[in-house]
Amino acid sequence: MGAYLEDYAAVGVIILVGIALTGAMLGVNRLMRPRVAAREKNVTYESGVDPVGEGWSQSTVRYYVYAFLYVIFAVDAVFLFPWAVVLEDIGRAAAVEMGVFIGILVVGLAYAWRKGVLSWTS
């Protein structure tokens, strides 16, 4: 347990270093930048014309199906890594079990494909 925490101490340190780095970049910028207030500067950019409506307007989200598919497969990916490490020790049994698991997912993907979910226009 001790060695494990020591390994990850460096991760904690590097995160702190990263926060310090961004802080320093923005801090130096704060010291050196001019500040000239003007209302026009804070207007949303919409190719030069006055903005119409709000930025958070409604739009068709065609991507949500991909999100479903991704969640299903992401669960699989989490199991895949520990399995990959022990595959050689356990051998064929592990291979068959993962084959069944991924096989079910592949059938799901094939079904989604067949249903036209992966095509833009349908």
Binding site: V11, R33, S59, A77, V85, L118
Partner: protein, 322 residues
């Protein structure tokens, strides 16, 4: 206590690499892209072939006014560049450069879960762009942000699957362990995985031809439309740091890391050379291919890369078990 000092020192070395390697890649992009397009690129700054152009850019960015649009979600908008930048620094910590003149491996920290750790850190970086897109209160940014999300979800999967295939062959998740287990025939056996990993990595970094979220011809600059000055510079640095991390990971996983003549002395040179080579390919892809349309981006992932990666995993399973 001495261990903590040691860790801090190594982190500072990683910081040094983080602040120089992306600039080298950026300069290479300026020059290589220019020559591929029959231009010469920047020539003035620094005297010799404009080597100091990016330093001059940095000096300019530091002096720029910081503007937050009135419609933006201020906190999210201001935090986004840091969220985009820091994860790549964290990822760089675990990427090994290999033996350094017989002094052991040159690495920020050898983690037993290195591969998993780097992949996780890389996908956090994309959240920064997503935050910028949704926090700007701008329609271009919003559409760009949605595209970032779709692209992340589509390409994360083939990337992870291709990486898992290498982990299966090596039987470990430690990046040093994987590079040491590497054998030349893996180049052939893992070739589809290599292609899938590289292409998915390009897409995850939103590098052309997968820059549909930025798409300057339709979305101005996508999620980065409202950014300027230092915060824009941080996004730029994150992009180039992302190239370095992707190239490093590709090198360690698929190209054998420090494998090469005299690798116990000069291993780190080999790794750096391979990283530069892969970075060059990233730049080359930008010049060579036109941008994919948004629907093409998603169908390439789900109809080509995911099946290919699954087939690679099946093939590797057969290789390992039999």
């Amino acid at each position: 206590m001495s261990e903590l000092v040691d860790a801090v020192l190594r982190c500072l070395l990683v910081l040094g690499a983080f602040l120089t390697l992306p600039l080298l890649v950026g300069q290479m992009e300026h020059k290589a892209m220019a020559h591929m397009q029959s231009r010469v690129g920047p020539m003035a700054a620094g005297g010799f072939h404009g080597w100091a152009q990016l330093v001059a850019d940095g000096v300019k960015f530091v002096q720029k006014e910081s503007i937050v649009p009135g419609a933006a979600d201020r906190k999210v908008f201001e935090l986004a560049p840091a969220v985009a930048l820091v994860p790549y620094l964290v990822a760089l910590l675990a990427i090994p450069l290999g033996p350094f003149f017989g002094q052991g491996n040159l690495v920020g920290q050898d983690l037993d879960l290195g591969l998993f750790f780097v992949l996780a850190a890389m996908s956090v970086g994309v959240l920064g762009t997503l935050m910028g897109g949704l926090g700007s209160g701008n329609k271009y940014s919003y559409i760009g942000g949605m595209r970032v999300a779709a692209q992340l979800m589509s390409y994360e999967l083939p990337m992870v699957l291709a990486a898992a295939s290498v982990a299966m062959l090596a039987g470990t998740l430690s990046l040093i362990g994987i590079a040491e287990a590497w054998e030349p025939w893996w180049l052939l056996a893992q070739l589809p995985g290599l292609v899938v990993f590289f292409v998915a990595g390009l897409a995850e970094l939103q590098r052309p031809p997968f820059d549909a979220p930025l798409a300057d011809a339709e979305l101005v600059m996508g999620p980065l439309t409202e950014y300027g000055g230092m915060r824009f510079a941080m996004f730029l640095l994150a992009e180039y740091a992302g190239i370095v991390v992707l190239a490093g990971l590709t090198t360690v996983l698929f190209l054998g890391g420090w494998a090469g003549p005299w690798s116990d002395q000069l291993g780190w040179v080999w790794t750096l050379l391979k990283i530069v080579l892969v970075s060059f390919l990233v730049i080359w892809a930008r010049v060579a291919y036109p941008r994919l349309r948004e629907d093409q981006v998603n169908s390439l992932a789900w109809k080509v890369l995911v099946p290919l990666a699954l087939a690679q995993i099946a093939f590797t399973t057969v290789l390992v078990v039999w």
